[in-house]
């Protein structure tokens, strides 16, 4: 039995005081008798008047002492530790965050959590059900409450942490929304490294981890810009001690960049350096910390980052000049609207033509609205203003639209997709669906001064790259849709060489979320594309364990290595016993008074 408030046990000192008060208390009643002769001759009676004898014989005092002990014990909040998860249904919630791969708990936090969950499954009582919910990037019910232990164990064995942050709070709330029977409870294993955990009834957290020593790469990109190409590496120290970290970037085994970064606690450093070759770059930190998974990262600079382009329209010198400058595979122009010829191009630019319904593919639409897209044109609008644009969208990366003026534009009425540049009317609209990926610019280039701005080539390059560019960049845990381009199925090969077939659905390849960071390959009839999966978010490398105030304690003496145990609170029983004893003492005292 353990006590949550052991200091309350000092209250037991009240017992000697109680005895002292009992001894000192003058409470004998005078009772006249004919003679005390016989009482004086009764030795045991006189002995009964001795204080020690009185204490022995006083049931009331004994009851008072018992009541005091029970009351003080109740105030000390006693509890007993039980193996397993007690009675009732139990929902197991496992955090699948990247930080759960930390090795400060052997072998890893996640492995320990899974072992403890399996131990709970092994200790389920007959008829007791258990379910499994994972806290990946999106909470997911893996196993609904069941008595089938084998199914639970199999599901637990399949689990692996993501290279992303898990939504523990969402998973716990999802579990709490599940109707639990009497005595049911939720046990969540997490390191609590990213924000507070919801304090919900019947939820017990098992906080894993003991260290915050981690330095990781939170961003690694290789980008082209009009001046050439450069790489960006950001390294962050998540620990509480300063680190001096060697960084090395290699390309095909050759070092292209090397630096030693001094990182104060909680600080980050970003280094940008030029690169000349195209291909795969790998950044590595020569550091020993508890989370090696974020000590390396990969970036790809595609040799031909932009796809082949067919311009259909009357022709525009600004556009032609940009296409000549950009690293597209090939570019062609035609005035004829013949969709049958469009398949051999990665991106088709429809400039002020009426193409009718467009087939699946990637399109840059300039002042034209195909009828089979969820957008309509409601006439023209003059001198629309640009009020805002989504700087985080890859299409608008590095694009500054301040000062761009537009004489005339179509008044778009979107019924889907997303508006990337807004103002008086939508001025850049993006859409993915039905096998079509489209970027719509509702004004002709001649009707604006956009071609005169630096933003124009960047916008075209980003747009072509988004529409059908080379390597795709995606975060771990995110889903990705890629136009099938007429293909029926594709094969996804993960960084470890495992492949998975993905069928085309409605002209799109809907790729499952990538669990691990790395370079994936997508092969289909239209060729092969590389997909770089990055660590889900910069906070994924935070490994500092959260507060353990709501943690489920281990059994005494077992430390963190012990099995998961649960506490059964005993203080209500002690309080009940104290009340019962007090009632009994009251009844006894009342009866004695009645006898007198």
């Amino acid at each position: 039995m353990t006590f949550a408030v052991p200091a309350a046990l000092w209250g037991l000192l009240a017992i000697p005081c109680l005895i002292l008060l009992y001894l000192l208390r003058v409470r004998r009643r005078d009772h006249p008798v004919s003679t005390i002769l016989l009482w004086q001759r009764s030795a045991p009676t006189l002995a009964a008047s001795r204080p020690s004898r009185r204490i022995e014989r006083s049931v009331l005092l004994l009851l008072q002492i018992l009541a005091t002990v029970a009351l003080v014990t109740a105030l000390a909040r006693p509890s007993i530790v039980e193996r397993g998860a007690g009675g009732g249904d139990v929902l197991l919630v496992l955090d699948l965050s990247l930080s759960m791969r930390a090795r400060d708990v052997a072998p890893t936090r996640f492995d320990r959590a899974r072992d403890e969950a399996m131990e709970i499954v092994a200790h389920l009582r007959p008829g007791q059900r258990a379910g499994l919910i994972t806290a990946g990037p999106r909470p997911l019910v893996r196993v609904t409450p069941t008595e089938d232990r084998d199914r639970l164990v199999a599901a637990l064995r399949e689990l692996q942490p993501w290279d992303a942050s898990g939504d523990v709070a969402g998973a716990v709330r999802l579990a709490a929304a599940h109707p639990l029977g009497p005595g049911g409870r939720i046990v969540a294993w997490t390191d609590g490294a990213r924000g507070p955990l919801p304090a919900l009834p019947r939820v017990a957290y098992r906080i894993l981890g003991s260290s915050d020593d981690n330095v990781g790469i939170t961003a690694f990109r290789a980008l082209r810009d009009p001046r050439g190409a450069e790489a960006l590496v950001r390294v962050e120290n998540f620990g509480t001690r300063s680190r001096r970290v060697p960084l090395e970037v290699t390309h095909d085994g050759a070092t292209t960049y090397r630096a030693v970064l001094d990182l104060p606690p909680g600080a980050s450093r970003t280094v940008v350096f030029p690169i000349t070759a195209a291909g795969r770059f790998t950044a590595r930190l020569a550091v020993h910390d508890i989370l090696p998974d974020d000590d390396s990262a990969t970036a790809i600079l595609d040799p031909a980052p932009l796809p082949s382009v067919l311009v259909v329209g009357p022709g525009d010198p600004y556009l032609e000049n940009v296409l000549r400058a950009l690293p597209v595979v090939r570019a062609a122009a035609t005035r004829a609207v013949d969709p049958t010829t469009w398949r051999s191009y990665g991106v088709v630019i429809l400039d002020r033509v009426d193409p009718g319904p467009i087939p699946p593919g990637d399109y840059l639409l300039i002042r034209t609205v195909p009828p089979n897209l969820p957008v309509a044109a409601a006439g023209d609008v003059r001198t629309p203003d640009i009020a805002s644009w989504d700087r985080t969208d890859p299409v608008l990366q590095f694009v500054d639209l301040r000062g761009v003026r537009i004489l005339r534009a179509l008044q778009l009425v979107p019924e889907g997709g997303r508006v990337l540049v807004g103002g008086t009317v939508p001025l850049l609209w993006a859409y993915e669906g039905e096998g079509v990926r489209a970027l719509l610019l509702p004004f002709a280039l001649q009707d604006s001064d956009l071609p005169m701005h630096v933003a124009f080539p960047l916008l075209v390059a980003n747009g072509l790259g988004w529409l059908g560019g080379g390597a795709l960049d995606v975060r771990a845990g995110e889903t990705l849709q890629i136009p099938a381009g007429g293909g029926t199925r594709a094969r996804v090969i993960d960084p470890e060489g495992h492949s998975q077939l993905v069928p085309a659905t409605a002209g799109m390849f809907l790729l499952p979320p990538f669990q691990r960071a790395g370079v994936y390959r997508l092969t289909s009839a239209s060729g092969e594309r590389q997909i770089v999966a990055r660590i889900g978010d910069p906070r994924a490398g935070m490994v500092r364990p959260g507060p353990a105030d709501r943690a489920v304690p281990s059994a005494p003496g077992t430390g963190d290595a012990g099995p998961l145990v649960t506490r059964a609170s005993l203080w209500p029983w002690f309080l009940l016993a104290a009340l019962g004893i007090i009632m009994g003492e009251w009844v006894l005292a009342t009866r004695r008074e009645g006898d007198r």
């Binding site: 009772h31 004919s34 003679t35 006189l46």
Partner: protein
């Protein structure tokens, strides 16, 4: 409970003896195991020989004897003068030593009331049978004393005297005995009515009676609560006579110990009386006086 130390003065006066009971007492007489010498003629055979009607013996004629008692038949046979001797019927000297200490107020009815009723009943029997009846109230204070009465007509004096006795003072049996024997020279029947709760002891008082060679009949009166105390808890027991107190915690074991002490005490009294030829009768306040007189005192040989 033994807590009623004083009689309630507001209580209605209860007649000591009712007429029906008195009628039953008419047929009884006091029995003396010894032939005793009385002062006047009575209904009791005396060791004195004289003018009675029951022949007792012959003796030689002496100068001055009444000629009427010469047995001429003997003279004719023996040619010597003999006179006939007759047992003379004399009265009995019946004395009561009645404990009127404060402890006699215990019980329901009180021990004193029972003692007064017994004294009244026995005294009535004595007066009816022409015995002399005297009462000495016993307490540490000089209690009232009733000189010897004789004759049925003095019954009301006896009852009035008894009715006026109230519990007061401490028990001092020895002092009471001394006062009694200081005023009574004749041997007779001494009836002691007491609870014997004398802190100085009862033995010397009873031995004084034996010294004076009187037939002693001890009626030991106890209250029910003295035999079986109905108390419990932490108490300070106060002696109603001495004011001394003892603190006790009364529980079942203490009551058992009290019962053992009580039995030992009563056994001691019985052995003492048996050893010294004292008739002993123990009773409690719950026994009616009629039953005591008509049954237990007859069986005890005091009345017959």
């Amino acid at each position: 409970m033994a807590g009623r130390a004083d009689s309630d003065p507001a209580a209605p006066t209860t007649p000591l003896l009712d007429p029906e009971f008195l009628q039953k007492l008419e047929t009884l007489g006091l029995v003396s195991r010894k032939r005793i010498r009385g002062e006047q003629r009575g209904d009791r055979r005396s060791v004195s020989r004289g003018r009675g009607v029951e022949f007792s013996d012959h003796r030689a004629y002496q100068l001055g004897d009444d000629y009427r008692y010469i047995d001429w038949n003997v003279v004719s046979r023996l040619d010597r003068l003999f006179v006939k001797m007759f047992s003379e019927e004399e009265d009995l000297d019946v004395s009561f030593v009645l404990d009127t200490s404060r402890s006699m107020a215990a019980g329901s009815p009180s021990k004193l009331m029972l003692a007064k009723r017994l004294a009244a009943a026995i005294g009535y029997i004595g007066l009816v049978n022409l015995d002399r009846v005297g009462v000495t109230a016993c307490s540490a204070d000089a209690g009232p004393r009733l000189d010897r009465l004789r004759g049925r007509a003095r019954v009301f004096d006896l009852l009035r005297f008894l009715d006026g006795l109230e519990p007061a003072g401490e028990t001092d049996l020895l002092l009471a005995m001394r006062r009694h024997f200081a005023g009574v020279r004749r041997r007779g029947l001494l009836i002691v009515l007491s609870d014997l709760f004398d802190p100085r002891g009862y033995e010397r008082a009873l031995l004084l009676a034996r010294y004076h060679r009187v037939q002693t009949f001890l009626i030991h009166i106890l209250a029910d609560e003295e035999l079986t105390p109905a108390v419990a808890g932490d108490l300070r027991l106060v002696d109603v006579e001495t004011g001394r107190a003892v603190e006790v915690t009364v529980d079942a074991e203490a009551l058992r110990a009290y019962a053992q002490a009580r039995d030992a005490y009563l056994s001691g009294v019985e052995r003492f009386c048996l050893r010294h030829g004292i008739d002993y009768l123990r009773t409690s306040t719950s026994v009616p006086v009629e039953a005591l007189v008509l049954r237990w005192l007859r069986q005890g040989g005091l009345v017959g």
